[in-house]
Amino acid sequence: MGLWKFFLKIFVISMMTFGGGYTIVPLIREEFVHKEKLIGDEEMLDLIALSQTAPGPIAVSTALLTGYKLKGRRGAVVGVIAATLPPLIIISILYFFYTWFASNIWVRAALRGMSGAICAIMIIAVYDLAKAALKKHKIFSAIIMVAAFLTGLLTSINLGLIILALALIGIVAFHYVPEEKMP
């Protein structure tokens, strides 16, 4: 895939990332895991985890790392620009009539349906990613997954800290139990 094609793909994906944050994940998967088959689901999880180690919008980090993975450093820069331009262009235009737009009843109506759709899309993505994450060390992985889910759901601990804790748990656990013996 050329840089230009990659730019266009991320540009379109960024234009459809409503709701922010992780909603970019199913869109990136659709293009680069399913259609182009350039990234596997396990690698996708790695990229998302890595994107959490930096501050700033998750969608931009994920686009950057996808670019880095596929096209090296130039891909990373293209990923950032392609992810940043759509919101920049859209808000620059809407700036002149934002109160009308944000309160427009038809815009709101379209959004009600779209949020429902995005939610369904996210559920399928989570199911696929969970399956990929449970491929190795089923019991260990299942415990970690449930623990991370409950921590995120029930506490307000910062995501960055949860990521750090997960990395440490992995390092310590596999230091004491060799990979081939981990259930």
Partner: protein, 192 residues
């Protein structure tokens, strides 16, 4: 110079906004509303509501909006790219170690826990998207019938592996159609 001040302010927002999405809001508010006075509290609320109906991260939306307000289009461009600069630099450095050559096994071990953990965290995000999309209110429980229909239809089509991009538009179409039906029958739920 105003562009330089915008740049510095939004590099700070980008550098310290951990956790993504609405976690960044208090920081944006502190820098933009309280320190520089570029937006009033009311306008900040407008930025949040416009972010809900447009794609893209709220930090970039806020940066573009403030940039336009303070210095027009050049301001919007400077502020938006300033927001993503810190993560770009940091991930560039991380990328050099991660994508080049052989990784130490310690890093591989960290990722064996990070993969299931991240799947769990995306699950959390999905739960909160579900609650805000499907429920108009959680106490008492009021379900948005239009969102529920869009959700169910898209879920079924997605299980059948229908391409994702048209499904987002299908959702929008169901939203418009649903509103039209509510409007014609006078059964509309109050819009959010």
């Amino acid at each position: 110079m105003i562009l330089l001040r915008l740049f510095i302010a939004f590099v700070e927002v980008g550098a310290f906004a951990f956790g993504g999405g609405y976690a960044a809001l208090p920081l944006i508010e502190r820098v933009i509303v309280h320190r520089y006075g570029w937006l009033s509290m009311m306008e900040m609320t407008d930025v949040v509501s416009i972010s809900q109906v447009t794609p893209g991260p709220i930090a970039i939306n806020a940066a573009t909006f403030v940039g336009m307000r303070v210095a027009g289009l050049p301001g919007a461009i400077v502020a938006s790219f300033a927001t993503v600069l810190p993560q770009t630099i940091l991930l560039f450095i991380i990328g050099i170690f991660f994508f080049r050559g052989k990784r130490p096994t310690t890093i591989d071990h960290a990722f064996l826990a990070l993969r299931p953990g991240v799947a769990g965290l995306i699950g959390v995000a999905t739960v909160s998207i579900f609650i805000s999309a499907i429920f108009l209110s959680t106490s008492p429980i009021v379900i948005d019938p239009v969102a529920l229909v869009a959700f169910s239809v898209v879920l079924i089509l997605r299980i059948k592996r229908v391409n994702l991009f048209p499904l987002v538009f299908l959702g929008a179409g169901i939203g418009l159609l649903g509103h039209l039906v509510e409007y014609l029958t006078g059964t509309g739920a109050s819009p959010r």
